[in-house]
């Protein structure tokens, strides 16, 4: 089962953790201050997006703590109960508590989306930076490969990879990484080309820094923040793709709770139990709307520094 999506809730050992905790708290405070005064808060849409994102994170992180039931506990005596005080979001055809399943599913979907993006960004960073710095033959070959991968529609490629490896959540994540790295590799290469001839990098090269040092020490720090902006914009689409393929039964397998899989399960019972559709739909809507709004706000806030320099 998906290692990557397993929530990491291990509490740190109390004795050793104090300085680390303090450090974490300090960086959290700094991040909060940056958020409060940063450009994200400048636009009403950015604020709405952050609010929704906070809501979604709260639901995914604290939901399992609040939930009164286990997500996978079957209670055939409580099949298809409408929402009430006992089961806040009702129960499904196996009597499983929908609130517990939804929070677990939201957490799994969010972690999975971040995992896919992290994988896609890592691959694209390696390929894009190497191509952009090497130029010449290596660049031509790598970019030709990128062109070829991009010629296969990404969901179709993901379907094909899942078909080859077999349905399963881990395989689905791998499939989405395989189908999404190429577009980012081209973007990273463009970023790399934009920074590679900057005076300070030329100076480092003249100072005797080798290609690896230039790549890791100078190009990556300039490229990664911009790639993060791009990745933020892709978060919503990634969540939607994950949910869609899981909905088809190609991702998380029963009884694992996952947003798309829950929507797929809801299909058969929607006439008698509309809450099975309403609740996951709302969660998907909030999560993707938050991702889209935050992505837009981040792009707008960094427009001049990130986007325009790519195509000087």
């Amino acid at each position: 089962m998906p290692k990557a999506a397993a929530p990491d809730t291990t509490p740190p050992a109390p004795g050793r953790a104090t300085p680390a905790l303090r450090h974490t708290a300090a960086s959290l405070r700094r991040a909060a201050a940056a958020l409060r005064h940063g450009p994200l808060m400048a636009s009403a849409l950015g604020r709405t997006g952050l609010g929704l994102a906070g809501l979604a994170l709260l639901f995914a992180v604290l939901g399992p703590v609040v939930a009164t039931h286990q997500p996978d506990t079957v209670d055939l005596g409580a099949k298809l109960h409408a929402p009430d005080g006992e089961h806040w979001f009702g129960t499904d055809q196996f009597g499983r508590d929908q609130f517990a399943r939804l929070t677990a599913g939201a957490r799994r979907s969010l972690l999975a989306a971040f995992t896919v993006l992290a994988g896609s960004c890592t691959v694209s960073l390696v390929v894009g930076v190497v191509a952009g710095l090497a130029r010449g033959f290596a660049d031509a070959v790598l970019m030709r490969v990128v062109d070829i991968v991009l010629a296969i529609p990404s969901l179709v490629l993901a379907l094909a990879v899942v078909g080859v490896l077999g349905p399963g959540f881990g395989n689905l994540l791998l499939a989405l990484v395989i189908s999404s790295w190429a577009a980012n590799a081209r973007i990273v290469r463009a970023f790399t080309l934009a920074v590679r001839d900057r005076p300070y990098i030329a100076a480092a090269r003249l100072g005797g820094a080798g290609p690896a040092r230039i790549a890791v020490g100078h190009v990556l720090p300039a490229v990664v923040p911009r790639l993060l902006v791009v990745a933020t914009l892709q978060l919503g689409g990634t969540i939607v793709s994950l949910a869609g393929l899981s909905f088809l039964g190609l991702g998380a397998q029963p009884p694992t709770a996952e947003l798309g899989a829950m929507l797929g399960d809801a299909r058969a019972f929607v006439t008698v139990a509309p809450w099975l559709l309403a609740a996951p739909t709302t969660v998907v809507l909030v999560v993707t709307a938050a991702a889209t709004l935050v992505g837009d706000a981040v792009r707008d806030a960094t427009h001049h520094s990130a986007v325009e320099e790519v195509h000087p």
Binding site: D147, I148, A151, P153, L155, L248, L263, V270, L285, T288
Partner: protein, 344 residues
């Protein structure tokens, strides 16, 4: 597809004034852009085919055994396996296998379905018309929503129609098409008693899945087109056009819209690729008898030749669509044509 990056600026804005002729001159030095574009197509398609083909040996399990199992031989003898292996060409070197596969593909033979034992292209061909109906209807719906929305948003920039268009686009981005499909089935079919949950793949039934598919595409288009329209209306040449007495409606429709079309055309071509995946999901939601729902069931059954063939077909269609888009964009915007007769 390299030329797309060269011709369409990010965000679709027209390049800085004066930059265009220079960019064109350098493009001409490297050969005519459209000729280069045409030349790159076979290479890309061949590469994609190799990639798709190369996925197959990665699959765990023995294709020969899977073929036999699918054909109703659950416990094949070693002789049967060897025979099937030879029949599938699996005993040859990979390069030879690929060459064999390509030659057969060029003759219209993309293999045999593990499940049905029938030629894959026959299976897909029977279902393709329904998918094409769905896809073309979805493209038309999405255009019919996105273009007016972008025009209104650009005309009433930063006023309530613009905000409304943004909100609609956000909804389009945030609600996946298949969720819209589930909601529509619940509201229209189950509660409204209108239409059917199982659709027959005809034009009469296409509107509901097509609307859902369009719902997943229009938001990108309307945002892109609005941005390109606004860029055009804020450009230096637009100020000159206004200064000659052109009204805002004429500026929008006669000047800004044609200039904003190339990025939209490219976005539509990209969506034409994304459509294949989206169709797979929505055809399953609506039990639409198309190639998409067939592929989804094939993925679950790991019917690899079907998946392979579908990926090849989708890639061909996508490459053709983006080539068409490049030609169409060059038709709309003469600067992309590279017809630089020497200046006055």
């Amino acid at each position: 597809m390299t030329s797309r990056a060269a011709t369409a600026a990010p965000g679709g804005g027209p390049a800085a004034p004066g930059a265009v002729p220079r960019a064109l001159r350098s493009a001409r030095a490297a050969g005519h852009p459209i000729a280069r574009r045409l030349l790159s197509v076979p290479v890309t398609v061949a590469g994609a085919a190799l990639l798709i083909w190369a996925l197959l040996p990665l699959a765990p399990g023995d294709p020969a055994r899977m073929t036999l199992t699918a054909q109703g031989v659950p416990e094949p003898t070693p002789d049967q396996l060897a025979a099937t292996r030879a029949e599938l060409g699996l005993d040859r070197a990979p390069a030879e296998q690929f060459g064999h596969w390509v030659v057969r593909a060029l003759h219209g033979d993309l293999g045999t379905s593990y499940q049905s034992g029938r030629p894959v292209l026959t299976e897909l061909g029977e279902r393709l018309p329904a998918t094409l109906r769905l896809g073309s209807a979805a493209l038309l719906f999405a255009l019919a929503i996105a273009v007016p929305l972008a025009l209104v948003a650009a005309a009433f920039r930063r006023r309530w129609p613009d905000t409304l268009a943004r909100a609609l686009a956000l909804l389009g981005a945030a609600l996946p098409g298949f969720v819209v499909g589930l909601i529509l089935i619940q509201l229209v079919v189950v509660q409204g008693g209108f239409g059917s949950v199982v659709l027959d793949g005809t034009w009469a039934a296409v509107w509901m899945p097509a609307l859902c598919l369009a719902f997943g595409m229009f938001d990108v288009w309307s945002r892109l087109l609005r941005g390109a329209l606004v860029d055009a209306m804020d450009s230096g040449w637009a100020a000159s056009v206004i200064a000659r007495g052109t009204g805002s409606r004429r500026l929008l429709l006669r000047h800004a819209l044609p200039n904003a079309l190339p990025p939209l055309i490219h976005a539509v071509a990209v969506s034409a690729g994304a459509l294949w995946g989206g169709a797979a999901i929505l055809e399953t939601v609506f039990t639409w008898p198309g190639a998409g729902s067939y592929v989804v069931s094939s993925v679950k059954a790991r019917d690899l030749p079907v998946i392979q063939a579908f990926a090849v077909l989708a890639t061909l269609a996508y490459v053709a669509a983006s080539l068409l888009a490049d030609l169409l964009a060059a038709l709309v915007d003469p600067r992309l044509r590279g017809d630089c007769a020497k200046g006055v």
